[in-house]
Symmetry: D2
Subunit: 346 residues, 4 copies
C-alpha cells in the first residue's frame, strides 16, 4: 500500500489526483492538503467523491506529512513547493511536483518568466523532468519529479519525433495551442466565469506564456542546440482537453512513410502515445478522461512545411495522470496501473 | 471469462457498453454488431478505443451469436430485439435488452405508446425489469432482463421511497425531467445538430413521451394501485446527464427526519444510490461518468408539497452501466464489478 | 432626445441596457454609473461597445444624476434603489428600477423573502409593476416603475391567460423554470465559473427562491384571491434564456380551441407575446436577442392537467428590454421603439 | 424600396440574410428560395421570424426572380450560382454571390481546389471580390459581387496592413484559424451532431482547405507577387465566430508605433474594422452579432516574428453582413445601413 499525501488537493489538478487514486486499491490518501478548507470534509468540496472518502482537508505541513506518507504530490501555485521542500524532506519522502518550480534547469530563466525568486534552487539539478517517454530511467531513481506542464506535454509529444529525426528546421517552429477551461484552475476570477468563456475563443499570453521556456528547453535537449518557438495558447469553451497544432519547415523532402517511421521509432512501445492513422486528425474528445496522447502529422508539399498535431486531456496526461504515471515508475509498479481508463465519449 | 456480444454496438449506448466492458479483465467482447458498419473496424467508429480493440463490426445475427457468447446486449431501436429473440435463443444465452421491448408488461400499453406490433409478446411475462434496487433477486434468476429507460430510472429512484412509505399522493405527481443530448442517440437528424441544440432549452414529447407508461407501471407496483403522472422531458445543451425534479402533495405533515428515513430505508444498502445531505441538490456533474444516482428532497410547508430530485448519467446508470450491473448480478459477480468509476469532474 | 442615466451599468443587465440604448438615435446615455469601475472607460469593461461610446464609469449619485437626465435605470443589487430614491428625486426624474425593491406591495413579504429592511416603503404603493401586458395604462402615468423579475415575467405570461379565464385550479399550480447563466449576474463567485456550470444542470433555491412571492402576487390579482405556487428554478449551461414549464389541473374539460382563445384574448394585440401554433413548444433559441415572449400550452386529457410553456431572453424581455419597453410607454413613444431586433439564430 | 430575392434562404447564411433584411424598412424580401422546403412557410423553418414574415419558400428560378427583384443573393452550395447566372440575368438584376464561384480569378485554381467544372467562367473576370475595405469603388459599379469567404475575410483583414506595408515576409506566413460550428452550415451530417462537436476541438482540412487559394490570391494582389500560406482551420464548440491567429517573420526590426500606424493607415476610416488597443487580444464574443472585425497584433522580439489576430462573426462580417454591406454600396446607400447592431454579450 503506497501512502499518499496531496498538498493543494482542492484545486482541479488536486481533485483529479484524488479521483484517480481513490479508484486504486494499492494506494491510500492520508492527507488532503488545502489551506482554504481546513477541517471541511473533502467530499463537500468535491461531491463527486461523496461517500467514497471520509477525508478532511488539512493544512499544508510538508514536514509532518513527510513522516506519514511515501509520496507527496504538490498541486500548488508556482513557488510554493520550492518554499517547502528541502534536503531533509527529500531524504524521507518522494516528491512529485505538479507546479513549474523544478521543471526548468536554468534558475534565471525560471525567475525571469515566472517573476519569482526560486526558494530551493540547489535542488533543481537533482529534480527529474517527469516525461516518461524520454526520462523513464531517470524517473525510476528520482527522489523528486518535476511533472511537466500541460501545454509542454502536448507540444513536446507532438513535435519530438521530428526534432529527434532532424526532419524540421527548429528555427521555424510555431506552436498554436488550444486549451479547455479547467487549465485555468478553480480560482475565482472574472475571466473564468461561464458567460465570459462560453461562446468565445481568444488567444492569451501571446508571446509571453510561461510554458514557452519549458517547451524550448526540452526540445533543445533533443535538438542538441537552443530552440526558440513561437507559442500561443487559446482558451476554448470546453472543460477539458488540449490540442496543439505545430508548424515547421522541413529540412528536406520527405515521404509519408519516413515521417511515420520517425513517430513510430519514438512511440512504438509507448502505451500512452497513440500515433493515428494517415489523415486522421487528433481530437480532444478521443482522449478525454484518459492518459492518452494522440498525435499525427500532415506533410504540406505546397509550403514545404509539416503540420504536427497532438491532443491530450490536460487534467490527466497534462497533470494528474502523468504524475501518477511517474509515481508508478518510481515505485516499480507497472506504468499503466490505475491509468487504463478508456476515453469517455460523448 | 464472460463472453459478450453487443447488437447495436455503434450507437451511443452500445459504445458505452463496449467502453465499460473493455476496461474489465473478466469479460471479452466477441461480437460488435452493427448493421450500418459491417466489416469496418470498431475503433474507426469510436476512435476513443483506438488500439484498445481490434474488433470489426458484424451483422445482426442473434442465432449465430447465441452459439458463441454467454450474454447478448441489445442496444437497438424499439422492436428489433422482440423481432429476433425466441425461446430457442433464450435457452442458450442470456439477453439484456436496452430497448423498451420487454419493459412494459401490458402489451397493449406498449403497442399504443410505441406504435409498434410487439414481435414476441409471449416472452414479456418472463422478462425481468432490471432495476436492481427493487428486483435484484429476480434478476439473479433471469434469462432475459429488460433494462430500464434512462428517464424511468432517474424518476423512479427519486420518487420510489415516498410512494413506498405512502407519504405522497400519487394522483398529484408531476415529473419534470431534463436530459443531455446523448439521450437522443447518434442518429443523424437536424434536431440534434450542434447549432440547433446549443444555447437552447426546450420541452419535447409533452404529455406523450414513451417513458411515461414505464414510470407509471413501476410506481404502480409500489403503490399497489394505478399511478398516472405528468411527465415532461426537456433537452439541455450538455452531452450527458439526466436531472429529475418531481413534485407531489404530501399525504400528511412530515418532518425532515421522517422523509430522510424513508429514503434511507430504501437505499441504505445500495452502493449506487447516494442520498445527499440536507439541502444539497443533486447535480448531473457529480454523477457524470459513473453508475451513481444522487437523490434528495425538499419539503415545502407553504404548498404542502415535497420536491423530489435525482441525477444520473443517462449513458451509465440510465443505460450501459445499469445493464452491466444486471449482468454482474446474473452471473453471480459482485454487483459493483467494473462499475466503480468515480464521477469525472470537471 | 431622452437623456438617460444607468446606475449599475457594468452588471449584465446594465450592459444590456447600454447596448440597446446606444443603438437608438433618440436616447443619449449621460451617466454610466458603476461604483467598482469609477473613471474607467465603459468600453474597457464592455469591449463589444469599443469605439461606440466614449463614456466613463461614474459613481452612484442619484441626486446629481436626477438633475441631468430624464430617466434613471437602476440595475443594482436589492435594497440599493430603495436606499437612494425619495420624493424629491421622483419629482424631478423618472425611475425604472430593475431590482426587486418596488415589485412587491406588501413590505413585510418583501422583507421576509429578501432579508432586507426596505429603505423607502412609503413609495411602494406608488410604484407601478411594469408588465405592459397588464399595466400599460398605469405605466404611462408612472413616476417610478418596478421592472418585473426575469422568472416572474416568463412565468406570468405563460400562465396568465388561463388564470384569467378561470380554466386552471391555481391551488395546483407548479412552475418549473430553467435559466441561462447570465441570470446570476457578472459577480465573481465559484458557482458561476465555467467548469462548475458547463455540462451540468441543477435546481437551486428550491422552495425558497425570491421570485416566488412576486409571481404569486401578480397571479393573485388576476385570480382575485391568494395564489400559492411551487416554483423551482434550474441553472442551464447557456448564456441567455428562460424556459418555464407550468403545470396545473384544469377546472373543467376544455378543447384546444377554448384554451387557444383564452391566450389570444390576452395577447392578440401584444406585439411582444407570440402564441405559437398547435404542438409547437417554445424554445429559448427562437427568442434569444429579442424582446419576444413565446408561449404555448398542451392539454393532457390523461391527467386532466394542462402544461403551460413560455420562453424569453432573460436579459431582454426579462430585464433590459422590458425596462426600455416601459420607458417607451412612459415617454409616449411607440412601444416597440428600439426593440424590434429579430431573435438571433444560431 | 430595394426588392430582394434570396436563393438558398433556408441555410444558415440565408437565414441570417433574411433576419438582417427583415429588420430594415428600405428593403423587401420577395423571394425566399429553398428547393427543399417549397411551399412551406419560411417562419416554420426559422421560428425566430414567427409573425415577422408571412413568406413561403419557393423554388430556385433565377430567371423568374430576375424579373421581380433588384438584387439576388445566392447563399447556395458551390457551383450552383455559376450554373444559373448568365449575361441575360446580369443585364437585369444585381447578383451578390455568397458561394465561392466567382471569388477566384484563375478558373483552373478554382476547379482544382473545388473539384468542380465552373459553369460560367466567362463572368469571373467581371465579378468584383466584395471586400469593401479594398474594393469599395469597384463594388459601387459591380453587376456581380463575389462575397468573400468567412476565413478569408478574417484572415485578410488581420494580415493585410502588414503585407501592404512590407513589414512581413510573406513566405513565412502561417494562419491558424478557429471557427464556430455554424460555418459548417445547416446540412444534416454526423460530424455536426451536438455530441460530436461539444467538448471537443479538432483541426480539419489540414493543408487542403478550399479557402486557402482565396486568401493567397487576395494577399498576392497586395504583395504584388504570389503568396503561399499554411492555413489550418479548427472547429470550436460555439455557434458563431471566427478567430484567426497569424504568424510571420518581420522583414526588419519594428516598433509598436510603426505597426500600429500600418494598421491605422488601412482602417482609420473603416467603421467595421476596429484596431484594438495595445495588448488587447481580439475575442469572438466582442464581435458576435455584429458586422465588426476586431484586429490586433503582438510583436515578439525573441522570435523576430509578429502575431496577427482577428475576430469576426462568421455569419455576419463573414457572410450575410458583408453581403449586405456590398448591397448598400451597390445601391448608393450609407454603408452601415442596417448593420449597426452592437455585438451581443453575453
Amino acid at each position: 500500500m503506497i501512502k499518499v499525501g496531496i498538498i493543494g488537493s482542492t484545486g482541479y489538478a488536486g481533485g483529479e489526483l484524488a479521483r484517480l487514486l481513490l479508484q486504486r486499491e494499492d494506494t491510500e490518501i492520508l492527507w488532503y492538503g488545502s489551506k482554504s478548507y481546513i477541517d471541511q470534509s473533502y467530499s463537500s468540496i468535491y461531491p463527486n467523491m461523496y461517500k467514497l472518502t471520509d477525508g478532511k482537508c488539512m493544512d499544508d505541513n510538508m514536514k509532518e506529512l513527510a513522516e506519514k506518507v511515501d509520496v507527496i504530490f504538490t498541486a500548488t501555485p508556482q513557488g510554493l513547493c520550492a518554499s517547502m521542500v528541502d534536503e531533509d524532506i527529500l531524504s524521507r519522502v518522494r516528491i512529485i511536483d505538479l507546479s513549474a518550480d523544478f521543471r526548468i534547469k536554468d534558475v534565471s530563466v525560471y525567475e525571469q518568466w515566472y517573476k519569482l525568486k526560486h526558494g530551493a534552487s540547489q535542488l533543481i539539478e537533482e529534480a527529474v523532468y517527469g516525461m516518461p517517454e524520454i526520462n523513464r530511467e531517470k524517473v525510476k531513481r528520482a527522489r523528486m519529479v518535476a511533472n511537466p506542464g500541460c501545454f509542454p506535454t502536448c507540444s513536446f509529444l507532438s513535435v519530438y519525433p521530428l526534432v529527434k529525426a532532424g526532419l524540421i528546421d527548429t528555427d521555424t517552429l510555431i506552436i498554436d495551442a488550444k486549451s479547455g477551461v479547467s487549465g485555468a484552475g478553480r480560482g475565482v476570477k472574472a475571466d473564468s466565469l461561464y458567460c465570459e468563456v462560453n461562446e468565445n475563443i481568444k488567444a492569451y499570453g501571446v508571446a509571453t506564456h510561461r510554458h514557452t521556456p519549458e517547451i524550448e528547453e526540452q526540445l533543445g535537449y533533443v535538438a542538441g542546440k537552443p530552440v526558440t518557438v513561437s507559442f500561443t495558447p487559446h482558451l476554448v469553451p470546453m472543460n477539458r482537453g488540449i490540442l496543439v497544432t505545430g508548424y515547421a519547415s522541413l529540412t528536406r523532402e520527405v515521404t509519408y512513410g519516413e515521417v511515420k517511421a520517425a513517430y513510430e521509432a519514438c512511440y512504438r512501445d509507448e502505451y500512452f502515445v497513440r500515433v493515428l492513422e494517415k489523415d486522421v486528425a487528433p481530437q480532444t474528445r478521443w482522449v478525454e478522461g484518459s492518459n492518452f496522447a494522440d498525435v499525427n502529422f500532415k506533410i504540406d508539399p505546397r509550403t514545404r512545411r509539416i503540420v504536427m498535431m497532438g491532443a491530450i486531456d490536460n487534467m490527466i496526461k497534462g497533470a494528474a495522470g502523468q504524475a501518477i504515471q511517474n509515481m508508478n515508475i518510481m515505485f516499480g509498479l507497472p506504468e499503466q496501473t490505475g491509468l487504463k481508463q478508456i476515453p469517455v465519449f460523448p
